[in-house]
């Protein structure tokens, strides 16, 4: 094949792959999905207080623009919904905890219930609606 034609084909394939990845990413981004696990000790080490009805635990990193969006959403929910605490940690400083909790990307927001169990997980900046729904679900299990 002529070199420039090869280059053109590679460029088209690269753009097709990027578009596919982008569409999948956009569909998954920011959804709060059900999750399980979480070691109470690890969570306590990150500042999750035992007995708080719902904790939103956010892993952030320095090079992360969507982390700011996630922070604004979660801090706002914590300020407006009684019983919700918001804790933000730098993933960089808690790499062991990040591994234990399967955090690969920032922002990742974990929804932790009063017994110190991770019950929800959002990768990417979650929308306010998703966080409110997840928080309401934990609350309804408790009551």
């Amino acid at each position: 094949m002529h070199p420039s034609l090869t280059g053109l084909v590679v460029a088209v394939v690269a753009i097709a792959v990027a578009t596919g990845c982008g569409l999948v990413w956009r569909a998954r981004e920011g959804r709060v999905r059900p999750a399980s696990g979480g070691c109470a000790e690890t969570l306590a080490g990150l500042g999750v207080e035992a007995g708080a009805p719902v904790t939103l635990l956010q892993f952030s990193s320095l090079y992360c623009a969507p982390c700011r969006v996630a922070r604004a959403v979660c801090a706002d929910v914590a300020a407006t919904v009684p019983g919700v605490r918001y804790v933000e940690v730098d993933a960089d400083r808690h790499l062991d905890a990040a591994r234990e909790l399967h955090v690969w990307r920032t922002p990742t927001v974990l929804v932790v219930d009063a017994r110190g169990r991770v019950v929800g997980r959002a990768v990417g900046a979650p929308s306010r609606e998703h966080v409110l729904a997840a928080v309401a679900e934990v609350g309804s299990v408790l009551s």
Partner: protein, 140 residues
């Protein structure tokens, strides 16, 4: 300094066009030019060439941004772009075209994801890289 997020996507769009041209022409010199652009962007958000074009010619025609973002993630991703394009440039200029094509293609995927979807691959790689480095340190 903080940046208009639309500027980052504008820059990624120009980068995507340049990378397509690199692939089609197979020009090591064009790859080198883009490598220099990435290097400047990684060193300083203020002097990033495409960002300067955005501020000079595009931003004045737009409404002020609703919010601004930190410059560090953008600079970090420019550094990742620099690494890929440096490899591509060496590949093209030494005649190992396959290396040039593959490295440029990866950079194009990243730039296009940023331009079209606002997804910053370089920023995402940061934690991944840190975790892998951390694991290696523990096991070695």
């Amino acid at each position: 300094m903080t940046l208009d997020p639309r500027g980052a996507r504008f820059s990624a769009a120009i980068t995507s066009v340049v990378l397509v041209l690199v692939l089609v022409t197979g020009s090591g010199w064009l790859a080198l030019a883009q490598t220099v652009v990435f290097a400047i962007g990684a060193a300083s958000a203020r002097y990033a060439p495409y960002g300067m074009l955005f501020r000079r010619f595009v931003a004045p025609r737009l409404e002020p941004p609703a919010e601004r973002e930190a410059a560090e993630p953008v600079r970090f991703s420019q550094g990742v772009g620099f690494a890929f394009l440096a490899v591509a440039t060496v590949g093209y200029l030494t005649g190992t075209t396959a290396v040039g094509v593959v490295a440029t293609a990866f950079a194009l995927v990243a730039a296009f994801l940023n331009a079209a979807f606002g997804f910053c691959v370089g920023c995402e790689l940061y934690l991944l890289g840190r975790r892998l480095a951390h694991t290696n340190r523990r096991t070695s």
